[in-house]
């Protein structure tokens, strides 16, 4: 059976009279809303804001590293730059990026619900996010934090005199924001599915966000208590992590990485969900091996809790447990490989078009593959000794986080932009942006693998001159990358007013969210839908569109 793609005639399409955007007006109607779509918009704005703050810091870091000498900024300033870059990018951008914006917007619609299970808690989690962000901004404006985003003891507790407590408090609060988001998603996916929406009819985006939410709910509290202990140790001087008082600084690392390694999967899993949706939609095909992809998400989430000590291989953990953790690390690499190959196989015999989300998705697949494979370098014990704490590891997690997650995020934002706003983004412009981002990214971070194997340590303010050429390349790439990220900032707002009217289903995608008007009504569905077909069922979609054509005219 086959499907003929016929994009709806967008000249005839018009914006619906009533939608969640114009149901109420005024600032109050936004700040006190319980509508998941509006909260998603609030998140979108605040996250973008912090992304560009963090990006500015990254730019200054790259500028400093243009020359081997410590000439642009003082070393303390530099330390604060990369610390705030890390904290903001991890806790204020990457962790909430896809779940809190795209996920918040589409997950309730995908499962056929009128809202998330706990709309007020959803709003609360945004306010918590803002509160945490305010703490971090306060710390920033009062001179920042210079412990590195890992708050490593005893440095953070006894040897720096910056605003560690404020910063840690900010992260603590932001952590609870993500806990509540995750809690909301889990409950929604469990309890709010519409009739007929069985687990295996869920879009894969729901599966991966579900897995990520499990990690949020179970992992983040450990970070919270760890930060509480750090704050207490700094304020009152209790010695839980202080070797001179009999504490063990490694215990901090254990507790911290128990959250912060799963956090990596919190960041990447929702991105994988986006890729599944996009690849399927633009190759007009059901995702190859749906169950395999779904279960690999869960497998990643579960294994994710067993591998944290691979961040500590050279830090004096027992070599026996290093062995165990390395083995488990190898296991957790497998589900990611499965996903990649399934996506590739989804293209087979598809009918592929190359709109912007698809381009970003291809970018994701390439960069994430590199990132994942270099992760195997670092996961294998011997190689880790030489590579860890060098620029190799910096390049590795930027390939996963920026090359993977950020690509997926942009892919998702472009993909659901018509649904969110009712208007199309300018296609050619955004394709340019996607390509620019990809090229800039490779140019920025690939040299860092080489300079890393050469032994240049991370977090270095000044470095031996022989590393300069590679660093110059990296900085040059960073400028291109920056342009790639600025472009959407220009044309996305533009499209709000001048973009083509999207119509309800511009991509001819099968998800429930594409079967309702865009932008949707506040209550999403007039009546709770009944799911009567599998996910990614393009034949069903074809029938439906034919049916409409016949009925309409």
């Amino acid at each position: 059976m086959s499907t003929i793609v016929s994009l709806p005639n967008q000249e005839e399409a018009q914006l619906p009279k009533l939608s969640y955007l114009n149901s109420e007006y005024g600032l109050k109607s936004w700040l006190l809303t319980a509508d998941h779509k509006r909260i998603a918009m609030l998140y979108l704005i605040s996250i973008t804001f912090f992304f560009f703050i963090g990006g500015a810091f990254a730019g200054m870091i790259r500028l400093e590293l243009l020359t081997p000498l410590p000439d642009l900024v003082a070393s303390d300033t530099y330390n604060k730059l990369f610390t705030m870059h890390g904290i903001i990018m991890v806790f204020l951008f990457l962790v909430p990026s896809v779940p809190a914006t795209v996920g918040n917007f589409v997950i309730p619609i995908m499962v056929g619900a009128k809202d998330l299970a706990f709309p007020k808690i959803n709003l609360l989690s945004w306010y918590l996010y803002v509160a945490g962000a305010c703490f971090l901004l306060y710390a920033l404006f009062n001179g920042g934090v210079d412990t590195g985003w890992t708050f490593t003891t005893p440095l953070s507790t006894h040897y720096v005199n910056t605003h560690v407590i404020t910063g840690a408090m900010g992260v603590f609060i932001a952590g609870f924001s993500s806990i509540f988001t995750g809690l909301n998603f889990i409950v929604t996916i469990h309890r709010m599915r519409c009739p007929g929406m069985t687990w295996f009819r869920l879009p894969l985006f729901c599966w991966s966000n579900y897995a990520a939410s499990l990690l949020m709910v179970l992992g983040t509290p450990v970070l919270a208590i760890t930060l509480v202990l750090v704050m207490l140790e700094r304020a009152v001087g209790i010695g839980v992590f202080d070797p001179t008082k009999g504490g063990d600084p490694l215990l901090f690392q254990h507790l911290f990485w128990f959250y912060s390694h799963p956090a990596v999967y919190i960041m990447i899993l929702p991105g994988m969900g986006v890729i599944s949706e996009v690849i399927s939609t633009f190759s007009r095909k059901r995702v190859f091996g749906y169950t395999a992809v779904a279960f690999s998400s869960v497998a990643i989430a579960v294994f994710g809790f067993f591998v944290w000590a691979h961040h500590m291989f050279i830090m004096g953990v027992s070599n026996y447990s290093a062995l165990v953790f390395s083995l488990l690390t190898m296991l957790v690499a497998v589900p990611s490989a499965i996903k990649i190959f399934n996506w590739a196989a989804t293209l087979y015999k598809g009918s592929i078009t190359f709109e912007t989300p698809m381009l970003y998705a291809f970018g994701f697949m390439g960069l994430f593959t590199i990132g994942g494979l270099t992760g195997v370098f670092l996961g294998s014990l011997g190689m880790d000794i030489h590579l860890t704490e060098t620029y190799f590891i910096v390049a590795h997690f930027h390939f996963v986080m920026v090359g993977g997650m950020l690509m997926a995020y942009l892919s998702g934002v472009h993909f659901w932009w018509p649904k969110m706003t009712g208007r199309m983004y300018p296609e050619s412009m955004s394709q340019l942006a996607a390509v620019t981002t990809f090229i800039g990214f490779i140019l920025t971070f690939f040299p860092q693998f080489i300079v890393g194997y050469l032994g240049m340590p991370r977090r270095y303010h000044a470095y031996p001159p022989e590393f300069q050429v590679l660093n110059v390349l990296s900085t040059a790439g960073a400028t291109v990358l920056g342009i790639g990220y600025l472009l959407p900032m220009l044309y996305m707002p533009w499209s709000l007013k001048y973009g083509k009217i999207a119509g309800s289903n511009p991509w001819q995608a099968t998800g429930l969210e594409w079967q309702i008007q865009s932008p949707p009504l506040t209550e999403n569905f007039v009546d709770i839908p009944i799911m009567d077909h599998e996910a990614y069922d393009y034949d069903w979609l074809a029938h439906k569109t034919e049916h409409e054509v016949t009925t309409v005219g």
Partner: protein, 102 residues
């Protein structure tokens, strides 16, 4: 078939609550008494065993898990499982540290 697995609401009566209360108090007395008997390495095991028993009673009856759906039981299990992962995997490092030179 509505997807959310719905589960009829079971009302636990005061008799059950009373029995559980009695059991809990007795167990508390037992564990305190046991603390005064020297059982060597077993005294912590006994104490924690009794604690687990009490916790299970509270969860099953006071918190109605015994009467609620599989998903809930699974959820509670998952929580304690993750907790055990944290404890065991971390301690595995500390325990095995002085097994060898390295």
């Amino acid at each position: 078939m509505s997807a959310p697995t719905e589960h009829e609401h079971h009302i636990v009566g005061p008799k059950t609550y009373g029995l559980i209360l009695l059991a809990l108090l007795v167990l508390t007395a037992t564990t305190t008494g046991a603390a005064f008997i020297n059982m060597g390495v077993f005294s912590p095991i006994v104490a924690l065993g009794i604690a687990c028993l009490k916790a299970v009673l509270v969860i099953l009856f006071f918190m109605h898990i015994r009467y609620s759906s599989k998903v809930m039981m699974l959820t509670v299990g998952a929580g304690f499982f993750t907790f055990l992962v944290l404890i065991t995997m971390t301690l595995s490092d500390y325990i095995s540290r002085n097994w060898g030179l390295w």
